[in-house]
């Protein structure tokens, strides 16, 4: 009888526990709301056009932050996300130039296949060689950057306008960019997060020993994480092509993008030690990082200060978040 009674007990998480688990995402969203209202108050007739601009110009970095999140949650780090973005950007810009929409979409699929395969390869090397991920991905970042230069020697290439509108929308149409952003989250991440492979990614990042003893296959799990990361890097490259209407193989773009992705995941509540966080927080963090320089501009401050403020915000948020987490652990 008692067995039946206990088995009937609800096993889903309660609302308060859900809130506690996702406290960071909630906090970042609130922070974003404040920034958005502030920015809106600075702009006359703030509306769909501004939203479209924000979504379109942050789409690439949002994908990249998601890519970095998956890998870091799995206990690794990927310094090659920026280089992979540049590679996908150059590949697509070269082969989409003068192409129709149909061909452009085929090229896009091929680019995603390439970056996913390169991601899987990275995961394989990291697991089999046992070389720290930071070293392996530093090395692969050089390799992908070099390949991008082979594909496109100088900035150039192009993308059909139809493709650009499909990915980013245009004018007041802000929903295409949002749909493109949500597609991998809903179609791949949501089912993965609930599958054994996705739980394995969290498990591996949280405690590799406990994960191994629980039967998680480290090789397969890391390959899953890096492959999904590679796919998202490819999406980031395509978003860049759509946004800039061309490709540019410069390594500074790759470096900047990589460092911004790390800043975004840290701000978005992903623990660099692995096992903690999600993909939504980092995306909202990317929007925050976009709005800060805009607000500075609206205040009439030199935009260079915007970058300084961005840095200060990252440190402050992580500091305050860390203190709150520590206090909660002490009281628990």
């Amino acid at each position: 009888m008692s067995v039946l009674a206990t088995a009937a007990r609800p096993i889903g998480p309660t609302a308060s526990r859900l809130a506690r688990r996702h406290a960071w995402t909630v906090a970042v969203t609130a922070f974003f709301a404040v920034l958005l209202v502030w920015n809106a108050s600075q702009t006359r007739n703030f509306g769909a056009f501004e939203i479209q601009t924000m979504l379109a110009s942050t789409l690439a970095l949002a994908y990249l932050a998601m890519a970095q999140s998956v890998v870091v949650i799995g206990g690794g780090i990927d310094l090659s996300v920026g280089a992979l973005l540049v590679l996908a950007n150059c590949l697509s810009a070269r082969f989409m130039e003068h192409a129709g929409l149909g061909t452009a979409l085929l090229v896009a699929v091929a680019c995603l296949a390439v970056t996913s395969a390169l991601g899987a390869f990275t995961g394989l090397i990291v697991t089999v060689s046992r070389i720290p991920a930071i070293i392996v991905t530093l090395a692969t970042s050089f390799a992908w950057g070099g390949m991008a230069l082979l594909v496109l020697h100088t900035p150039g290439g192009g993308a059909p306008a139809g493709f650009q509108a499909l990915v980013l929308g245009s004018g007041n149409a802000w929903w295409p960019a949002l749909l493109c952003l949500l597609a991998p989250l809903l179609l791949i991440w949501a089912p993965l997060r609930r599958s054994r492979a996705g739980i394995g990614v969290y498990a591996l990042g949280s405690s590799d020993n406990a994960a191994y003893l629980s039967g998680v296959n480290p090789l397969r799990t890391r390959i899953v994480a890096y492959t999904f990361g590679g796919l998202l890097c490819g999406l980031a490259g395509l978003a860049t092509t759509a946004f800039t209407g061309g490709g540019s193989p410069q390594s500074t773009i790759a470096m900047n993008a990589t460092l911004n992705s790390v800043a975004a995941i840290v701000l978005g509540g992903v623990a660099l030690s692995g096992g903690v966080g999600g993909l939504v927080g980092p995306v909202i963090a990317v929007w925050c990082l976009y709005l800060i320089p805009n607000i500075m501009l609206g205040l009439g401050v030199d935009p260079s200060y915007g970058e300084v403020v961005k840095g200060v915000v990252v440190v402050l948020v992580v500091l305050v978040g860390g203190l709150l987490r520590a206090r909660r652990n002490r009281s628990a």
């Binding site: 739980i199 969290y202 990042g205 020993n209 629980s214 039967g215 096992g275």
Partner: protein, 501 residues
Amino acid sequence: MTTSDQLLRVRGVAKRFGPVVALRSVDLAVAAGEIHALVGANGAGKSTLVKILSGVLRPDAGTIEVAGRPVRFRSPAHARTSGLAPVFQDPAFVPDLTVAENLRLTGTDPAAFRRRLDELAPGGVEFGEVAGVLPLPLLRMLDLARVLAHDPALLLLDEITAALPTDYADRVFAAIRNARAEGRSVLFISHRLLEVQEVCDRVTVLRDGRNVDTLRTADSSERHIVAAMLGERAAQAAVDPRRVAPPPRAWAGEPALEVHGLVDGHKLRDVSFTLTSGEVLGITSLEGQGQDELFAILAGDRRATGGEIIAGGRRLAARHPHQAIRNGLALVPSDRWEALLPQRPVRENLAIAHYNSPGRWGWINAERERRQVADAIQRLEIDTRAQAQAKRLSGGNQQKLTIGRWLVGGFTTLLCFDPTRGIDVGTKHQIYDLFRELAGAGKSVLMFTSELREIPLACDRVLVLYDGRVVAELPAAEAGEAALLSAAHGLADTLAEAERQ
């Protein structure tokens, strides 16, 4: 017994790590429906054998047969599908995942899990709770319940009762007996010979990487088992504490450490005691009676909300362990990984505290360091075969490092939290002897222990904590297990009454 009755048969299994031989050659047979104990001193090879049997490590030589069929485990998951399921001291629950997610990770049926858990932890657990916030004893119960839910043929329990409260340990024993009744076998690894005698059918003794004896617990005394593990002296000690215990004596030394009315929220309500130089003072209690907070405060790692600590005649308000150390209070924490530098050599692990007080101009006197380290290694008989990295030493030798560090660094009062947890009888006696020796030289030792039987062996006097208060104080020689246990359960009044009658 014929071969077909044996569920598990291990023949000539050997394993070495670089120059260190962990297992020379082990034969072991566990019958179906048998609770079989595996005992041995630290470094005898128990942990290595369990890791091989659970698929974590691969043997260099030898064969393993399960139900007559030879097997070679590729991974823990593979061993589990062959029916061998381990529960380790550190639970295999991923801390950042919820209980439900942990179950999905292993493909465990939640209903079967809950049925098993109801026997082990009647309070139950919320499946949505993150595993990392659950207390360790409960996590072990979850781990055991999960393993049982998979219907294993053989349970491998590695020190599952270490640091487990008595009520949990009793439920574990009940579950083990149940498992036997269901026809499962259990390989039970423990340092607590009393448990082994009580629960197990047979016991295999390992020494130096070999199986030296297999006995039926029913026909062999505890002393017999200890003798097989070690040698005669330790066997005597385990049987008759008085033979190695210090003679009761009056202490009239100077107070080394005085604690007056120490309060820390609701964890420590009012603790006062005096520790004189030349004294070993024991403290014991059940889990969570304020002992963790008391030691953390004394070591400068936590701040009290009230009360006073006087060390060496001076009022101490340490805001940092550094200040406590400077005032002569040195902590040996319960978890040795909190103290060790696992990647660094033995020598640095011993000398680290000494770096606080370098010579003039901040130079470290290498010659003096070498001398003091060598002295500590010799005094504690630390096995330095694997000295290049502390993490490669056996548990007992690692514990010796955490104590030896303060022999090198210097102290007036040593704060030891469960210094003998999970280490073998021989090393335990070395530690007791060391404490006596230190006391004889005018130092003082404050030692928390959850093992009541070691109090008369090591201490002069014992305090019992209950609910953040000192509820009993006894000379160690008079501290019988019954008296201590009733005090630890908060039955001090009945205790005092019983004494009056």
